[in-house]
Point group: none
Chain length 126, copies 2
DNA sequence: ATGTCGCGCTCTTTGTAGGGCATGGGGCGG
DNA sequence: CCGCCCCATGCCCTACAAAGAGCGCGACAT
């Protein structure tokens, strides 16, 4: 397993928060809910979707397959059935690396403010 | 004469033969030719496509990715650039790590120039 | 031999069904 | 009133298929 990060995670997110986090439209999240069995968030009494951190992970996996790897929706469904656990670890690793990257970017900002004179390092992409 | 000529003929397949072998329409093979750089068969003087065994292998790979694994065409193109589906996923991780490493190397350079600061960086949030 | 007819295969260009969402309307609740 | 709910419908590309035209080769007659 990838290392466990000590995040203070909210228990539930609204669809708007999830949409903002991944920069997608809420309609896309609702649409994927009709396409992927695994993406079934809780709902409040009123009917609003309540996304747990686990739901976010599921969404992230789908997002990775469809938007970053180029699977069709049926193709992504198959992969999630067959190689779900293995795949999840890879996605976790990539996500952890992205967090580290964000941290480093922030760290450099602080160092720039403190030192501020030399040419800034090129920021890693992706 | 029959021996030699038959041998030469077997070096190449027509589009109809390839289509029959994979049970697809010739139009699909031509379309994929416009989408995948690697699928460029020789052409006769007349302009007819001549598929070598290597071309057949290339087509088989594309067929596998698009029809059996469920990749989109852009997704399959990306995979084709690599040297194998499993390798590709490893390469993703390695590539990410290399980017982070390059960033860190550059960051260390900056720290050498800037000298030591006691400004404690915060843990990455999230 | 040689015209020529037709058939099968190919070519390129143009048409199109459906996948993958987005948008708009009407309603509700905090 | 803003944000979310649920539909229904709209709509733009992707991923091919169909249409229309041309070549070449065998058969058959000349």
């Amino acid at each position: 397993m990838p290392y466990k990060e000590r995040d203070i995670e909210k228990q539930y997110y609204t669809i708007g928060e999830v949409a903002a986090q991944f920069d997608v439209a809420p309609s896309l999240i609702r649409f994927w809910e009709t396409e992927f069995e695994d993406l079934k968030p809780r709902k409040s009494k009123k009917g609003n979707r309540l996304y747990s951190p686990q739901d976010i992970e599921t969404f992230r996996t789908i997002y990775h397959l469809v938007k970053e790897r180029g699977y069709t929706i049926p193709g992504a469904r198959d992969i999630m059935k067959q190689r779900g656990p293995q795949l999840k670890e890879k996605v976790d690793v990539i996500h952890s690396l992205e967090k580290v990257r964000n941290f480093l970017v922030q760290l450099r900002k602080e160092l720039d403010v403190a030192g501020k004179q030399q040419n800034p390092a090129q920021q890693p992409e992706q």
